[in-house]
C-alpha cells in the first residue's frame, strides 16, 4: 500500500515536468530552425570565400550548427547569435587547419622558382604591367571568377594564412600563434602565396586585357 502511494505521487510529480520539457524542446527546435534559415548562407559564404569547396563548406556549416545545437542552453544572448555562430565556425576551420600542419615543412622545402639564385625575378615570371584595375571596372564579375579559381589553386596552408590575414584582419603574430608557425615560416608562406596568386591572375586576366 505504501509503495503504491509513493508510486502515484511520483507520476503526478513527473507529469507537469514532462509536459514542460516537451514544450521547451519544441521551442528550442523552432528557434534552432530559424537560426539555420537565417545564418546558414552567411556561414556557408564565409567558408567558400576562405577557399573551401562547396561540399566541404556545407559540412563545416553543418558541423557548426551541430555544436551550436549542443551548447544552445549555454548561449545566453550576451553576444549576437550571428557572432556566436561565426566564432564556432572559425574554431572549426582553425581545427581543420591544425590537422594539416604536417604539410608546412614539405611546402617550405620546395624551391621557389619565381626568383633566380641572386634573388632576381626569373625571366618567365617577370611581372607584366596591367592596363586597368579589374576590381574597379565593369568586368568585376569576370575578375571575381578568375580570382576564385586562382585562389582555389593555393594549397591549404597558404589559403589559411592568406584568409586569416585578409578576411579576419589578423596580424602575423596572432596567426603564428594560432597555427604554431614561426615568423619565418609565416612570411615565406605569405610571400609564395602572393607571388603565385599574382602570377595566376596575370596569366588569366592581365594578359587577356592586353590582347
Amino acid at each position: 500500500m505504501r509503495s503504491t502511494t509513493s508510486f502515484s505521487i511520483l507520476i503526478t510529480a513527473a507529469q507537469p515536468h514532462l509536459m514542460n520539457s516537451n514544450t521547451t524542446e519544441t521551442k528550442k527546435e523552432e528557434q534552432f530552425k530559424d537560426w539555420v534559415r537565417e545564418y546558414a548562407d552567411l556561414l556557408f559564404s564565409h567558408a567558400v570565400l576562405r577557399g573551401f569547396d562547396h561540399e566541404h563548406a556545407r559540412d563545416l556549416v553543418q558541423d557548426t550548427f551541430l555544436s551550436a545545437w549542443k551548447s544552445m542552453d549555454r548561449f545566453e544572448g550576451r553576444a549576437s547569435v550571428k557572432n556566436w555562430l561565426f566564432v564556432i565556425l572559425k574554431n572549426k576551420i582553425t581545427d581543420y587547419y591544425r590537422k594539416t600542419q604536417g604539410r608546412v615543412n614539405i611546402l617550405l622545402s620546395q624551391h621557389n622558382t619565381q626568383f633566380d639564385d641572386a634573388g632576381h625575378w626569373a625571366k618567365p615570371f617577370y611581372p607584366k604591367a596591367l592596363t586597368i584595375d579589374p576590381a574597379e571596372s565593369q568586368d568585376h564579375h569576370d575578375f571575381h571568377t578568375i580570382f576564385e579559381s586562382c585562389s582555389g589553386k593555393l594549397n591549404t596552408i597558404q589559403k589559411t594564412v592568406f584568409f586569416m590575414k585578409y578576411m579576419d584582419d589578423l596580424e602575423s603574430d596572432d596567426i603564428c600563434l594560432q597555427l604554431s608557425l614561426t615568423p619565418n615560416n609565416y612570411w615565406t608562406i605569405l610571400h609564395r602565396a602572393k607571388v603565385q596568386l599574382r602570377a595566376c591572375l596575370e596569366k588569366n586576366w592581365f594578359l587577356i586585357r592586353n590582347l
Partner: protein, 81 residues
Amino acid sequence: MKPISCKEAVDYILKKEEGKLSLLQRLSLWRHLATCSLCRIFAAQNALINRALKKRQQHVLPLSEDEKDKIIQSVLKDQKE
C-alpha cells in the same frame, strides 16, 4: 646601405603592409623600387589583390532551402540518437 634583391623587395612590400619594416628597410625598399620596374609592377598588382580581397567579402552565396533542411534534419537526428 646594402642594395636588396627583388626577392627581398617582395618580402619588404608584404611586411610593409603590417608596419613591420624598420626605417632602414623602408629606405632600402624605396631605393630598390626607384630602379626596378618589375618590383613596381608587383607592388601595384599586390595592392590590387588586396583591394579585391576586401571587396570579395561582400559576396553572399545562398544555400538552397533543401540544403538548409538537410542540415536541420541531420543535426536534430544526431541529437535524438
